[in-house]
Symmetry: C2
Subunit: 217 residues, 2 copies
Amino acid sequence: MVTTADETTATTTSRARMTGKQRREQLLEVGRKLFADKGFEATTVEEIAAKAGVSKPVVYEHFGGKEGLYAVVVDREIRALLDVITGALSSHGHARVLLEQAALALLDYVENSTDGFRILVRDSPAGQSTGSFASLLSDVASQVEHILAAEFKRQKLDPKTAPIYAQMLVGMVALTGQWWMDSRKFKKADVAAHLVNLAWNGLAGMEPKPILRTARK
Amino acid sequence: MVTTADETTATTTSRARMTGKQRREQLLEVGRKLFADKGFEATTVEEIAAKAGVSKPVVYEHFGGKEGLYAVVVDREIRALLDVITGALSSHGHARVLLEQAALALLDYVENSTDGFRILVRDSPAGQSTGSFASLLSDVASQVEHILAAEFKRQKLDPKTAPIYAQMLVGMVALTGQWWMDSRKFKKADVAAHLVNLAWNGLAGMEPKPILRTARK
DNA sequence: GTCGTAGGTTACGGTTGCGTAAGTTACCTC
DNA sequence: GAGGTAACTTACGCAACCGTAACCTACGAC
């Protein structure tokens, strides 16, 4: 044992004994990071344990296995993301403002919880056919759909087509978030403003200098 | 499909001896299907071999391993998709028409080569950090960027922002394709028309009954 | 200060799936 | 119909990981 030194890459985070809760949270953190970096299958239980400065059975004790840990990690991320998006979409106001807020909410999430977002995007624990991220997207899309349907009626457009447009908007925002996560060459507020600009005005009627209508931290 | 008999799940496609080329192509087909259905890691070499009615070493003979086979499969798909998209984008004409054609090209691809598209979207052979699909997208985005930059100058918009909009458009189209692949509740031409409608006119100025401007098979 | 228990360890069994060595069969050529 | 070669097989070695059984150890309560 001895080992004050870390062998290969493992940064032995803790050394001391912890309470169950603490250890559990720590394992979740460590796992999150690893899953984000290397994906589900490429991450091994031993690696997780090592990086938490603990031995393998501890992981099994808390989560019953890799899948168990992964499930909890994903569940938390899904909930967190869904919460902020739903929050943004269910404040009342002009559809344009809702869009703006939802976009900002996603970008915030991408910024603050990059690892989590990366996990969701990667998804792929083979088991569930419906990737959890896909189902999150379709959940959000259905919220957007309702907003759009109302808006369409007002504008004398066919509400039957709302699902398509909902899907497109969600896709646009989601993939833009994904892209922004890696490139990061533009400011968050700018990305959001352009997002809204394109979605609202279209290429034919774009504002030259789009600005946000919402005050934000 | 010249299937003779299937046992449990493995559809032993061939029984007879083949030439090297034939076998190679057959293995690529089989692999493509399996990778699309189960992903890279979940697919085993034995499974591929079995489904091709052949034994494992044959696969190693032709491709040197699972990764080798996968690489060829992905490479072909990337090329194919990139070709049709690039083709659509490099015909000259109104930007709106280009968008329309590119959208249709993608949807065609999704329709005709569903397995391939699913593989690309899944991607994830751990190795290359830059998922091949991501790099394809950014490739396409850069093409779109140039088209947009020209268009922006004409419209007195800032060409510096073209990359963002390019990314958004590509994201919108790509994720819509992904969604359409699974849902399939709308007709291809309709999806394309709505795609163009949103991108071009925006939510504020949508046409009630968008129609395509291009004649298509 | 002993003792119960939560927190932790070492060490192993078992499966899975990759990759290869060595040998076999059909087919084509002369 | 002998033999060479391309196509293919059986059989195995081996490494990685998962998961578990069995055994320690710090530490607060009494």
